[in-house]
Structures are given as C-alpha cells and as structure tokens.
C-alpha cells in the first residue's frame, strides 16, 4: 500500500492535498494558444469508449431485432426502450422521430459514463500511471465540459424543435408575447432569455455537481488510510471504517448515477415537449 500511494504523495507538498489535487487533474493536451484550446483527453477517451459500448450493444440488438421470441439481451434493451418510449409518449403529445432516440441516448450514455465512478477510484489512474500517463480522470460526467456539451446540444435541439413546430415567425413572436401577452413585450423577452439560458446551465451543473461530488467522496474515502504503514495503529483503526464507508457510498452511488441519468433524460424530454407546445 505504501508503494501504491507513494506516487501520488511525491507530487504535492502535503500527502492529502497532493493526492486529491492529483486525482482532480485532467489529462490535458494543448492544441493551441490560450486556455480554450485544451482538450481533456481522458474525458474524450472515456466518453468515446462509452459511446462504443452503448452503440455497439444498441445497434447490434437493433440489427438482429426480431418480432418473434427475443433473446435475453434484446429483452433487456427492449425493456429500456419501452420504458423510455412510454415516458416520451406520456409527456410529448405530438409525433417526433427525434425525442425518443435522443432520450435513450442520453440515458444510456450518461448512465454508462456515471458508471465509471463505480470502478475503484485508484485502479485506472494507477494503471495509467504505471503505463507512463501522469493524470487520469475516468468519469467523463465529472467534467463540466462533457455535461455542458450535452446540455448545449439539448439547448440547440430545443430551439430547433420550437422553430419546427411553430415556424420561424411563431417561434420568434413568442419571445415577445408569452407569457404576459403583447403588452408586456420587454418583460416577456427578459423572462424568456433567462429561462433559455438557465436550462442548459442547470441541466449540466446538476449532473456535473453530483458526479464531481461523488468522485470526490470516493477520493476522500481513499484518503483515510493514505500513506499509513501497515504497522501503525491508525491504519488498523481506519481500515474498517474505510471499507464500510466505501461500501455504503458505492451502494448509494448506484442510485445516484441511475437517478442523475434519468433526470437528465426526463428534463430533456420535458424541455423538448414544452418547446413544441404553443403557449
């Protein structure tokens, strides 16, 4: 154990802050001048890995989908599909080819990315470190870039949905006429702009905050026995506590990651439905 932790400890001055800081540092690649031209390579890689798993499973089942007796995998996917389809039909009363596939993509992707939090917090970073990679964060949804990127996509789709269902004129006139009528045009516009701006921010920050906090708590649980030698009293005192709290938090986190994936999906469905409805 001493050995495993020594590599983190050597980074910062103090053991704990160094360990935590190291864990919260992205694997960055600079592609140009300025702070913006940086890529969090770890987030991108793990997101693409999750996309590969999700698409691989989903498209494989879709290609072999039979209306006869389904296999177990097809059954499992169909259960989720029917669940999402039911939610969409319940919420959105029009016909849209876009909403349901988008919703299941969000649910599947966010759940898989969140699920990376279930992997022991030191496992992949340690493996990467052994392979010469200095920093690694494995949960893409604990990176604001990932969640905001998705939320902005949803934001654009909300606007697209509005224009599609109301026409350009109807869509833009609604900025000034709803909800207070034409007389309250400035107030309407202000309210609308705030509303539209708040949605992607709240959507992305909710998921990001939950996952970041979850990851941080896993790190803090790991810190309990950080650097303690096997012969010391503190190790034997804290190890059971660490084991128990780690277990409890993992179990609880299964709920959190599923719930957050569901919330992101559900809010997207609701937002898109609202955008399609006339006020």
């Amino acid at each position: 154990m001493d050995k495993l932790y020594s590599m983190w400890v050597s980074e910062g001055g103090s053991d704990m802050t160094g360990y935590i800081k190291h864990h919260l540092h992205h694997l960055e690649v600079k592609v140009g001048d300025g702070a913006f031209w940086t890529i969090h390579l770890d987030s991108v890689i793990f997101k693409f890995a999750m996309i590969a798993i999700f698409l691989g499973l989903f498209v494989k089942v879709a290609r072999g989908a039979t209306s006869g007796v389904p296999g177990k995998l097809q059954c499992a996917i169909e259960m989720i599909v029917e669940f999402v389809d039911g939610l969409v039909k319940e919420t959105f009363h029009g016909h849209s080819k876009l909403i349901a596939p988008l919703a299941i993509t969000i649910f599947g992707m966010v759940f898989l990315m969140n699920f990376m939090d279930m992997v022991p917090v030191d496992l992949l970073p340690a493996a990467a470190h052994a392979g010469g990679v200095e920093y690694l964060r494995v949960v893409p949804t604990a990176d604001l870039n990932t969640t905001l990127g998705m939320a902005l996509c949803v934001f654009l789709l909300i606007q697209y949905m509005g224009i599609q269902h109301k026409g350009v004129g109807g869509f833009f006139s609604e900025f000034f006429t709803a909800p207070f009528g034409p007389k309250g045009a400035p107030a309407n516009l202000l309210l609308r702009l705030i509303e539209e701006a708040v949605r992607p921010v709240s959507l992305s920050l909710r998921l990001f905050g939950n996952m970041y906090a979850g990851e941080l708590i896993f790190v803090l649980i790991a810190v309990m026995t950080l650097g303690a030698s096997l012969s010391s009293f503190s190790f034997w005192a804290l190890a059971p506590v660490q084991l128990l709290s780690g277990f409890v938090w993992t179990v609880f986190h299964i709920l959190v990651i599923t719930l957050q994936a569901f919330i992101f999906m559900m809010l997207t469905i609701v937002y898109l439905s609202m955008a399609a409805e006339h006020h």
Partner: protein
Amino acid sequence: MNINLTLVIQGLAFFATAWLVMKFGWPYIIRAIEERQKKIADGLAAAEEGKKALASASEKQDQVIREARGEAAGIRDRAEKEYASILDKAKADAIAEGNRQKAIAIAEIETAAHRAREELAHKVAELAVKGAERLIRKEIDAKAHKQLLDDLISEIAR
C-alpha cells in the same frame, strides 16, 4: 473547472451518437416491439375467435345429435308399426288360409259322406230289389219299375 475545446468535442460526439441511434437503432427495435405486440394481439383475438367457434360448433353438434335422436326414434316407431302390421297381416292370412283349408276339408268330407250315403242307398236299393226279386221273381221287371226304384233310392239317400 475550465471550459475548453473538450466541450465542443463532447457535444459533437453526443450529437453524432444520438443521430446514429435515431438512424440505425431505435426504429428497428421499436418496429420489432410493435410487430410483436401486434402478433400477440392477433393471437389473443384468434384464440377468442377459436373459443367462440368451438362454442358454436358444440352447440351445432348438440343440435345435430338431438335431430338424429329424433329421427332415430321416428324410424323405430315406423318400424315397430310396420312390424305389427306385418304380423297382423300374417296372422289374418294364416287364419284365412286355415279357414279355407277347413272349408275345403269339410266340403270333401261332406262330398264323401254324401257319396257314401248314395252308395249305401244304391246298395240298399239293390238289396231290396234282390230281396224283392227273390220274392216276386217274375213280377218285377227292373226296367219296368226303374222309376219306382229311383224314387226309392233318392228317398234313402236323403
């Protein structure tokens, strides 16, 4: 938490994934589900129909059996009547035949008796004639007294 190019990449990747799901995943699975739902609904409807058909068939079967039973009873009645009538006719025939035979026999007997009586009368007449001949050999000529003898014979034969 710095916002950087990662955001664009993640956004585009997400968008592309959603598009792929919409294009190559979702419709196939939904179609399979809906087809299966239709199959199940059709199957249930067919089962219901089959049940109804079974009920009507058994009803028809009952009716056919009832009809057949009635017909069989009718046939039996007719056969019994015919049997009785044949029996009666045979009995009547037999009785008539018997009567006829009896009548013939009686007639024969009567004829025989008659004949025997006639014969007896002839013989008696002959005997009488012979007796008389002996008594009055010369006086009585059988030819001359034929009328008398015939009258006598017929009287005896009566």
